[in-house]
Symmetry: none
Subunit: 237 residues, 2 copies
């Protein structure tokens, strides 16, 4: 997961960054609206955390201009003020959620997860693909009802695949989201992680692993055909 924090107060910013990094989220930060709009336009973040009081322009203005520039990334507004007015204005202006400072770490993380999930079309915090289940809240993976141990990076990759189930992700996209452009390793590492994930999944499903290779392009988490139908058949009971 990759987030952009638009916040001028260094103390707040540091707190937020620490919280997110602790949850395996790759964080970029800018301290003004102009740079925020620019970065949001250029890169594919999963979420934008937007402070309302910025040196160069008001948060609402940042949001307005981003939406005008066709930036569709979800926005979570962080505000010091707890005024209903701001909240309404924010949500009406295209924000996806609203949090007043100070906030607690767990709530911030939960809101982020929820906003990102919903923005990708997953109302539930559990994403199922055949016998594979990913629980975004718990950051856990199950296969055929049995919990599978996956490492941090392995989980990140599987989460990315799950959130964008059905769309092909290039290796470059994985790197961007997993490392945020800093100290990026070789593209090859993605193959290795995919291989490990497949092995872990396949040993419990009896062969299926749901991660399809799109030759020359990347990987997709497959929507198993006739998913609904197979669920109607007596499987586990």
């Amino acid at each position: 997961m990759r987030a952009l924090v638009i916040e001028d107060d260094p103390v707040s910013a540091r707190l937020i960054e620490t919280a997110l990094r602790g949850d395996n989220i790759v964080v970029e930060r800018v301290d003004n609206g102009e740079d925020g709009i620019e970065l949001a336009r250029l890169y594919d973040f999963d979420i934008l955390l937007l402070d309302l009081t910025l040196p160069d322009m008001e948060g609402h203005e940042v949001l307005r201009r981003m939406r005008a520039a066709r930036v569709r990334t979800p926005v979570l507004i962080l505000s010091g003020r707890s005024q209903v007015d701001d909240k309404v204005r924010g949500l009406a202006g295209g924000a996806d959620d609203y949090l007043t400072k100070p906030f607690n770490r767990a709530e911030l993380l939960a809101r982020i997860q929820a906003v990102v999930r919903r923005s990708k079309g997953h109302p539930e915090s559990v994403i199922r693909t055949g016998k594979l289940t990913i629980n975004i809240d718990a950051q856990s993976v199950e296969v055929d009802g049995q919990r599978v141990h996956v490492t941090g990076k392995e989980y990140n990759i599987l989460e990315l695949l799950s959130l964008r189930k059905g769309t092909t992700l290039t290796k470059e996209m994985f790197l961007d989201h997993l490392y945020g452009g800093r100290d990026e390793p070789e593209l090859k590492i993605i193959d290795v992680f995919i291989c490990k994930l497949r092995k872990k999944i396949a040993t419990l499903t009896g062969g299926e692993h749901y991660i399809e290779t799109i030759w020359g392009r990347g990987y997709v988490l497959k929507e198993p055909e006739g998913e609904a139908a197979s669920r109607l058949e007596p499987e586990t009971v």
Copy 2:
């Protein structure tokens, strides 16, 4: 797909070329307006990417002169800064879309696809021909609702046929659009790809493949006769 980039800055040009090539687009590039007009006049590009600041003349002037020379190729303007003024002038002068630098790779590619599609008379990103469906955005192919795996080159050929549905394409045209004159293989390769495509399509339609041979000229993607009528007949149930 074949694009002409009219851009004098080598850094920008390289970025653009890399992005397009990664998406299987054949790219030609010139670094001034005069050459741009000449090439656009002479060859059949799917799109022109036009920088506004060129050494010999302004981008708007290039556009004006191309249109005066009856070049109908769609134009996507790339400008250094987000000046509303430029935007209005560009679109008013016959440009089809507008993007400010720097831009995000995915957005550039999406805009190109959209502009090209529309210029060929397809407002939707999905092109249907009988039971055959091509999704330009996802670069995927479906037959009778079922996804068909096609390789990169196979897809490129089918996309070309779809975008120009109803018009005959010679093998030379296929080569030009698929290879852009560089390292072109034998003409015969087109036969081979067409054959493979037909087979893949026909196995799922029960015989129809929609790709017609125009003897001595080339191939067309043809709308099956009585399309509407056959749909009214009881098919599955």
